[in-house]
Symmetry: C2
Subunit: 396 residues, 2 copies
């Protein structure tokens, strides 16, 4: 039979990164990954809680749950976002979702008709871009400068495209850049979106992972008008494999997302929702996060030292104050895709910058590095190999 697929899915390609990672041979050091460090998960405490749930609450943990999420976890997360980050009004609702990716999926599902426009930071997280494409949304990119989006370009984009439905941004430790949007620009983004009636999808999977500098308020914390859908994730602080994230959104939007989630997967894994609730309530969640920050400060430091030692001066790179990534830029005229291949042959994988382009077909001289996944030794060795390869490649 010749299959006639939906148009939405014909536009989608498998994630370049996941394909790169799948085919990696064991001799290649994967600086291309985006995985958190397994040492950053509180495994021993999770085991303790897991046994307790088996012994005391199996009847709840293994039965169907409600779509909005396990009530205690919703309450604890809501409280935390409010007390620590000043987010959430009585007009907001907190929902549990199956990882941050599902938050993006549901937001798009409820907000965007096919052909409507989503504006995104450029470059941007490829997983989000693919989700937008899977709903037939049209994408417009706004370049990100050192301190966040080019605000003039953002306003111009809104003016030129009256049917923009949503703006996608990762203001803290952006993927792939590793940098933050400054406070002034967060306000400017918010004000512009209020002015043009655009919903903001604020994706903040790395917000808790700041290891240098001062916290910057989220855009959601400024949301008096009810235009911000805020997405958080447990993937970088508890475990990525359990697929638990959350959304703080205006009630009217959250109600639609709930109906959308019923049709997607009914509810998120109940056992791990309960486990996280117990952990947040009875263990030292903040102390645990401090340890993750120290871990990534250490690992990013190793990578930056190796970069300073071995990279040619003409190669640019961002200096992250948190998160998992940094972003390198080759000098003008360099063929980035040829370099990614060149370095892979020398035993290091990196993600080519084109993978993060909002509008396909635009060129890139950049690549993304990750320091959270490999061991300390491999971070150093991989970065040095990269430096050596850069020297050779740029001398050609």
């Amino acid at each position: 039979m010749e299959y006639r697929f939906a148009d939405r899915i014909n536009n989608l390609k498998p994630s370049a990164i996941r394909e790169i990672l799948k085919n990696t041979d064991p001799n290649v050091i994967p600086l291309a990954a985006g995985n958190p460090a397994v040492e950053s998960f509180p495994i021993a405490e999770m085991r303790e809680i897991a046994c307790k749930i088996f012994d005391e609450q199996a009847g709840v943990a293994f039965q169907y749950g409600i779509t909005e999420g396990y009530p205690k976890l919703r309450e604890l997360l809501r409280q935390r976002l409010h007390d620590k980050f000043g987010m959430g009004t009585e007009n907001d609702e907190l929902l549990i979702v199956s990882g941050g990716q599902q938050a993006i999926d549901l937001a798009t599902k409820v907000m965007c008709n096919e052909g409507e426009i989503i504006v995104s930071e450029n470059p941007a997280f490829i997983g989000a871009l693919n989700t937008f494409r899977s709903y037939g949304a049209k994408l417009k990119g706004v370049d990100v400068l050192d301190d966040g989006m080019d605000i003039e370009a953002l306003e111009r984009t809104f003016q030129e495209n009256p049917n923009v439905k949503m703006l996608y941004t990762i203001p803290s430790f952006q993927n792939p850049l590793g940098t933050c949007t400054c406070l002034e620009k967060r306000r400017a983004v918010y004000d512009l979106c209020v002015k043009y009636g655009v919903v903001i999808l604020e994706d903040n999977p790395y917000g808790e992972l700041r290891f240098d500098g001062e916290d910057i308020p989220t855009i959601k914390s400024m949301d008096t008008e009810g235009i911000v859908i805020y997405c958080g994730s447990m993937s970088k602080v508890m475990s990525a494999g359990i697929r638990v994230g959350f959304v703080l959104a205006p009630k009217a939007i959250a109600a639609k997302m709930t109906v959308g989630k019923q049709a997607s997967d009914v509810h998120t894994n109940q056992f791990f929702q309960m486990l996280i609730a117990e952990y947040m309530e009875h263990y030292d969640f903040d102390g645990h996060i401090q340890k993750i920050r120290a871990l990534y400060k250490h690992k990013s430091g190793l990578m930056l030292s190796a970069i300073r030692e071995t990279f040619p001066k003409e190669v640019g790179y961002t200096i992250p104050q948190g998160g998992l990534f940094l972003w390198c830029t080759l000098p003008e005229g360099a063929d980035m895709l040829a370099f990614v291949q060149f370095v892979k042959e020398r035993g290091v994988s990196v993600v080519p910058g084109v993978a993060f382009n909002v509008e396909e077909g635009t060129p890139s001289r950049c690549f993304r590095l990750n320091y959270s996944t490999p061991s300390d030794e491999k971070v150093v060795e991989g970065t040095r190999r990269l430096g050596q390869a850069l020297q050779e490649f740029l001398a050609k």
Copy 2:
């Protein structure tokens, strides 16, 4: 801000059943549920395996996994479907999904453009209907008779609607009817779909739960042409709350579903995929299923006895040979919605038949009963109350 939602989500209402269940007071016996019995889950064995995973494989269990699913579980399920049920050719691929609901979601996502037609058994599982609506598909219902769909009506529907993309069916222990499509009709459905180029979405969450009569081959087991997407679920045999299901589909479709799943939730909870794999490999999975069958044979028997004792003769009901449900029909002229309200005031909740109508606005004289969720005592007491209420209501 006045929100402008996507059309797809404006068509959706919250699941009537989930809303009924949410608002139930503790004095009301919920014969409206569709939950498996918690006693049917192998909790002790799951606990044992969970500890082992924490001790030996935490680094895999809590890290990101691959979208297609945990390799060992895919292999075991594929083998089981092949060896026990004769399903799967080398042209098929097995994927792990986040519960049976996601299988339906992904199938629709990859196959159906907005405005294209999905034909469904009528009445049908409300969760599937809502998913179809969430993609803007148009629904056409074909009435189900005692032994499966009205085959002439099915062919007429295909003839009258040249853009039918997919047929949705639960051939075994249908939700809400509780009955099975006979072998002859399964073949007829398959042949018609080959003839008209329609993909079959065969949903089989209850297939393992036969407690009377002989197994009937699945439609997928006849699939030489690669037109059947088969959906299975762990919700009724291991646990509903863990959200693990699977799909056996032609490779070309499975590849698209994988890309769709990357954009939905990246992958399914890795820990419980590993747990199920370990259970299937090293424990007595078939023996466990035998116990569930005995449990539901017992519970359905209790309900049927109470029905025979207390229901007025003019009320019809199906006699299930498996699954979780039976379906009652009031005599002509009776106001079913008034009855559902009447019986609720007498302390029993049932699901009104209209909730399962494929085309909204069509009337129904039916309601659905469930015997798997309440305790034995409550199954008997609830059914007796229902009989009493029927006597009173029909005498009015």
